[in-house]
Symmetry: C2
Subunit: 293 residues, 2 copies
């Protein structure tokens, strides 16, 4: 295992994003909790609560290392069970239903002598504005899905994993799925450069959405629908999310892993939007992936 994981870069991304979000919020500031992982490593979790714009914003940095349990290790690329992982992840739950929830994460993993990068970002809007999300959508539709709902979690974004592996290693690691991702990604050797550029794209992509939407009026109907869609967000994160699974299986700090949970979420039995309503248009968009760009 090499020692030069781009941990410093991820910690820098965390600081930069938190500063920009505090400025955008104009109310609350981030609290930082340092934590240590019993098996090795630790992190810094930053949480902003009850701001003017954000009901909750969590931006986590971690660098963990040690030994994976053998059954889990066997499903990942690289030899043996020793690993080291560093990354930054964020989830923003705005108060206003007019501003989409956003998730982003970028990580680098070493296992044995193998290193790869993964990450993504995706938008979870509550009010669909088809003219307004043209920038981010690439190939995440295949990942951020709730098969049991026949829905995507959001309207799209980007997702990637196994970047930095050779084609042979990627095929070995996760078969058809990895090849699909890797083939549409970047040349072997440019993985970290790609991650740098993707991470840098987050603030300029998201902050204009906040600015444009922050003063839009909304009422109970928008709020209720926002809470219902947050319920879907919870379903994805607890049933499918790769980062959550990896974190819980490797003994990460539960509060830091589950900082992505929304402050409030709602479930309604057999919810059906009114035909032709804005809610119906949004549900149509998450059921039928579109090419926004």
């Amino acid at each position: 295992v090499t020692a030069d994981l781009p941990a410093e870069f991820f910690r820098h991304v965390q600081a930069e994003i938190c500063a920009a979000l505090e400025a955008a919020d104009g109310g609350a500031t981030f609290r930082e909790d340092a934590w240590e992982r019993p098996g090795g490593g630790g992190g810094f979790t930053r949480i902003l609560t009850d701001g003017r714009v954000f009901e909750r914003a969590g931006v986590g940095y971690s660098e963990v290392m040690g030994a994976l349990d053998p059954a889990f290790a066997a499903r990942l690329p690289g030899e043996g069970t020793r690993f080291r992982a560093a990354g930054v992840s964020l989830v923003l739950h705005p108060k206003s239903p007019m501003i989409p929830t956003v998730h982003a994460n970028f990580r680098a993993i070493d296992k044995g002598d193998t290193r790869w990068f993964g990450g993504g970002m995706d938008l979870t809007p509550y009010v669909l504005d088809a003219t307004y999300y043209p920038r981010l959508k690439r190939w995440c539709d295949a990942y951020f899905t709730l098969p049991h709902r026949g829905e995507m979690r959001g309207v799209g974004g980007i997702f990637f994993d196994y970047l930095g592996l050779s084609a042979d290693e990627a095929r070995l690691a996760a078969g058809a799925e990895a090849m699909h991702l890797v083939e549409r990604a970047v040349p072997h050797g440019e993985a970290f450069a790609f991650v740098r550029s993707a991470a840098s794209a987050f603030l300029p992509a998201y902050l204009p959405l906040v600015e444009r939407r922050r003063d839009d009026p909304w009422g109970d109907s928008e709020r209720n629908f926002q809470l219902l869609r947050r319920g879907r967000y919870v379903e994805f994160n607890l049933i499918y999310d790769r980062g959550t699974t990896f974190g819980l299986r490797t003994g990460g700090r539960t509060e830091s892993i589950l900082m992505s949970m929304p402050p409030l979420a709602r479930w309604e039995y057999d919810y059906q939007p009114l035909p032709g309503s804005p809610e119906a248009r949004l549900i149509d968009a998450v059921r039928n992936p579109r090419e926004w760009a």
Copy 2:
């Protein structure tokens, strides 16, 4: 696969429990949705919403059959992949934080020529009353746990699985865990009688709690804590619950499987109750299993 699963009994239990809950609620009534499973079978989902006592009450009956995917089938007792399962399950989310949430389910499964029974019930109170839960607690502490939280979901109840298997079959099915449950359960051959008696125990055990607690006053503080504990309920059901997993993996109807989700749930980063508060006592109880009886 024999054709005489006690499906009629489970459907009868559903009717009886719904009638009693409607009477206890005194406001709303159950709506029934019939559904069919594409692979075979179906069910009847009954939901009561926005009642005087219950914010949501769901009582589901289903009988499903067909072929399991081979990898999943290999982890269950019995030969081959053909199965038939019938059961009843309920989750009650009372409006008042003074009345505990309760979950119960009873099921019978045939796979190949092997039949077994499973089920349980457990209480998830929001206000701890140590004098009031002496009846149900048996051996469910080992099952209804959130390892990532170091907590149980509730304060206890009963849980059982693999009832009806011989000791050899149970050892083969799930090793030490099954033996632990089976050895403390009932003689081989009396499994269905045990399930009948456990199902009959639900109403007399729970309705007195409702009656005793329904007029207790409560405020924002109790409500907020109720919503936080409901968040833990969501975590258990989506990450660990055997019925949810079985249902989603065997193509059950998502709305019927996830009727157990609470109407509203809350997550707070790194919540810590005030030392000595009622909330602190409850958290102590779910972290440190007790013998109530």
